[in-house]
Amino acid sequence: MKTLFQQIGEKFLSRLAEAKEIDEKKIAQLRVLFTDGKRLKAEELVKIFSGADADQIK
C-alpha cells in the first residue's frame, strides 16, 4: 500500500531515468534518498547534483 508521497517519488525517479538527462549514478543516489524513509536534506541533494557524472572524463 504505497502512499501518494511514495507514488510521486517513484514516478519522479522513473521520469528522470526515462529522460536520460541525469546520470544513472545520480538517479541511483536519489533513489536511496527517496526510499530510506528519512527526511530529505538540501545539502545531501546539493552533494549529489554537484557530483561528477559516472561517464565524465575528468
Binding site: 500500500m1 501518494l4 508521497f5 528522470l16 538527462e21 538540501a42 545539502e43 541533494l45 561528477a52
Partner: protein
Amino acid sequence: MIKLETIHIEEMRGIKKLDLDFQKQTFAIYGPNGSGKSGVIDAIEFALTGQIGRLTGRGTKGLTVGQHGPHVDKVKFPDAPFVELKVFLSDLNKSVTIRRMISSPKKITVVPEDAALLAALADVAEHPEITLSRREILRFILVEPAKRSEEIQALLRLEDIGETRSTLNTAQNRLVTAYNEADALVKSRKSALQLHLQIPVMKPALLLEAVNKRRKVLGLPEIDELKKETKLDEGLVAGVGAADLNKESALRDIQALVDAEQKSGDLGKKEVQAIVADLSKIEDDPSLLAALQQRDFVEKGLSLVDKAECPLCDAPWPDTEHLRGHLKEKLAKSEQAKKIQDALLKNGSQISAKLVQFTGLLPPVAKIADVLGEKDFSVLISGWKNKLEVLKPELTSVDKIRKLKGQLEGDWVAKPENFSATLAGLDEKLKAKPDQTATIDAQTFLTTAQVRLSDYRDALRENETAVAAKAVAKIAYDTYCTVLEEELNALYKEVQDDFGAFYRALNGPDEEKFIAKLTPTAGSLSLDVNFYGRGMFPPAAYHSEGHQDGMGVCLYLALMKRLFGEKFSLSLLDDVVMSVDSAHRYEFCKLLKTHFQKTQFIITTHDRLWAQQMRSAGLVTGKTSIEFLDWNIATGPLVQSDEGVWEEIEAALAKGKVDSAGAALRRHLEYAASMLADQLGARPQYRADGTYELDDMMTSVLTRIKKLWGKAAVAAKSWKKEGDEKTANEKIHFLATCDGAARVEQWAVNKSVHYNVWANFGKGDFEPVVNAFRELMDCFRCKDCGSWIYVVPRVNPQSLRCACANMNFNLIEKKE
C-alpha cells in the same frame, strides 16, 4: 489488505477493560456522548500506527499520547495501558496479534513474529488517514480554498510531498548561488588574463598571437594550437621569470585596481541599499522581526529533527511527525517574512558575486608590491582581500545579514587608509624602474600568462561543474513539480467524479443533477458544487449542514478509493454522519455496501436511530454491533450486546447478586425490544420524547410478531408449504403459552417499580424470570446465524427472515 478480528483494550483513554469481536466485518458502536466510543477508535488507531489522531494536530497543543493516552487514573502507571489487536492480513492469508503499550508507542509485539507480517504492519502504520472524525469532515467542507487544500493535503499526507518539493527548490537555489559565484570567478580571471595579454576578446588565435610574439623573442617554437595541456611558457628554464614582474603587465594590473578601488564605494550599491531597506523594515516592525527570527530559528530546528525531542529546546514530543508538524505550522504563519527572507538572500548572493570580481584584482597587485619590496603594502592588500572574502559566507543567512547592517550602512568595503595614495606610490615606483630588456619582458610575460591561463582554466572547470549541477537541480525540481502536478490533477479529477457519484447515490433523486468541481490553483483547492441546477457554489453557500456532512464523508471516501483502490480495506468513521437525515442514511448504508464491498468500516454513532438503521439495512448485524449504555470513570463503557448477556446474568446469580442480574436483564430486554420493534415494524404507543418503557415496547413487539407468524402460516398454507406452515404454527403456539410472553406486562413494568421488585427477589424466585425471557428472546433469533429476525420490505412486508436466510417466511398469501 487488513481486517480487524478482535481487540482487547486496557486502561486506555476512557476505557478500563474492553473486548470486542469485529469478525472482520463492518462493525457499529452506538452509545450516548461520552460513553467511550471514540476511545475504541483511538485504541485501534494506536494499535495500528502508534498515534492517536485526536491528540495530534491543530488545537492539541499540550496533548501527548504518553500523558493523555492512558486512562486518567493510570497516568502514573505508563505500563498499564495497552491494546491487543488481532488483525487478518489477506495478502498473506494470516492472522496476527499486535500488542502496543502507551509507554513505548513505537514498539509493537507481534505474534507470530514474521518478517513479512512485520513489513505489512509497518505499511499499515504509515496510513493514519484510515480514521476520520466529524471534525475532519467539516475541515474538508467548511473552509476557505487554501485551507481546504491544506486539510486535504494533511489527509493525503501531502505535507511530505510539499516538503520534498521545497527541499529540492532549496538545493536548486543553493546551486544557483554557487553558479553565480563560479561565473563571477570566471569573469574575473578571464579579465585578468585579457588584461595581461592585451587582447580585446578571449579567442585562441588572439591569445596565441600575443604569446608567440614573446616566444619568438626568446627563440622558442611557436604554439600552433591551444589545447587543454598547452603550456604557454613551455621551453623556458624552470623558475626563470617566475619571481619577477612583467613591467607593462604589472602597470596594467595596478591601473585596473586603481579604476576599481576608486569606484569601490559603489560596489553592490543597489543590492546593499535594498538589504538595508529590508532590514529597516524589519526593525520597524517587531512582529516581522519576531517572525523572521523565528523562521530562521525554526528552519534550523526543522532541519535538525531526527528524534522525538526538540533540537531547539530539548522538549520531549510524542513523535517526530508531531514535532515537525508543529514547526511547519509556525513557518506557514510568516509569509511576509518569507518574502523579505528571499529578497535578502538574493541580494546577498549578488553582492557575493561582485565581491569575487573585485577581490580578483587584489592578488596580482599584492605580488607587485612584494616584488618591489613593499612588503607592508602587500600584506595590507592581502588582508583587505581576506576581510572582503569573509563577508561572503556572512551573506548567506538572514541572521548573519542582520548582523552586517551597521557595516553595510557605512563604508562596508572598508578600503584601507591611504590605500589610493600608497597604490599611486607603488605605480610610481614601478614606472621608475628601468624598462625591461626584451628578453626579460618576454620571459615574465609568458610566466604570468601561464599562471593566469591556469587560474582561468580552473575557474572554467569549476564553472562547468556549477553549470551542470545547476542544470541537474533544475531538471530534478521541474520534474518533481511536473509529476506532482500531474498526479494531483489526475487524483483531483477522479476524486471529483467519484465524489459527485457518491453524493448522488447518497441523496437519490433529490440531487440527481449534483456535480462537483475541484479546482487546484497555486496552493489552494476550490470546491464548488451544483445547487439544484442553479449553478456552482461553495458547499456552505446553500446546502444544509446535513448535506455538508454528507459531502464531507463522500469526499473522504472518494479520496480513499483513489488513493488505495482495492487496498482500501479498513476505515474508522467516528460519528461522521450525525446530521444526515434518516432517509439518506439507508442510502449511505447502500453506498458502503455496494461501492466498498471489500472495506471493513468501524462506525461509531451517538444516534440510536442511525445504529438501528445500520442493522435494518444489513450493513451490520446483531453480532457486529454493540451498544455502550453509559460510562463512568471507574468502569469505562457499560456495554450492551447480544453476546454473553445470559452468561453475565448467570454469573451474577451464581454470586447471589440478584440486583446485578436484574439490571443486566433489564438492559438487554430494553435493547432487544427496541431493536425488534424497529425491525418488525411494531407499533408501540407513540411518545414525542422518544422514551419508550419496556412493557409498552415488549407488548407491541409480541402483538406484532404474533400477527406476522399468523400471516406466515396463512401464506404457507396457500402456497402448500407444509414445513413453513408447521413452523409458523409452532411459533404461534409457543408465544401463546410461554411464561415470558404471558407475564411480560407483569414483569416488565416501569423501571422504578421493576427494579425494586427484582432487587427484592431471591435467587430462586428470579431464575424462572430469566429462563422465561431467555426462551422468549430465542424465539426472535435464527438458530443458525443467531441474528434477530426482521421483515422486508419495511413497509407492507412480504417476508419474515433472518440474516442468513435460513429463516425466510413468505407473508403474502397466494392469490386464487
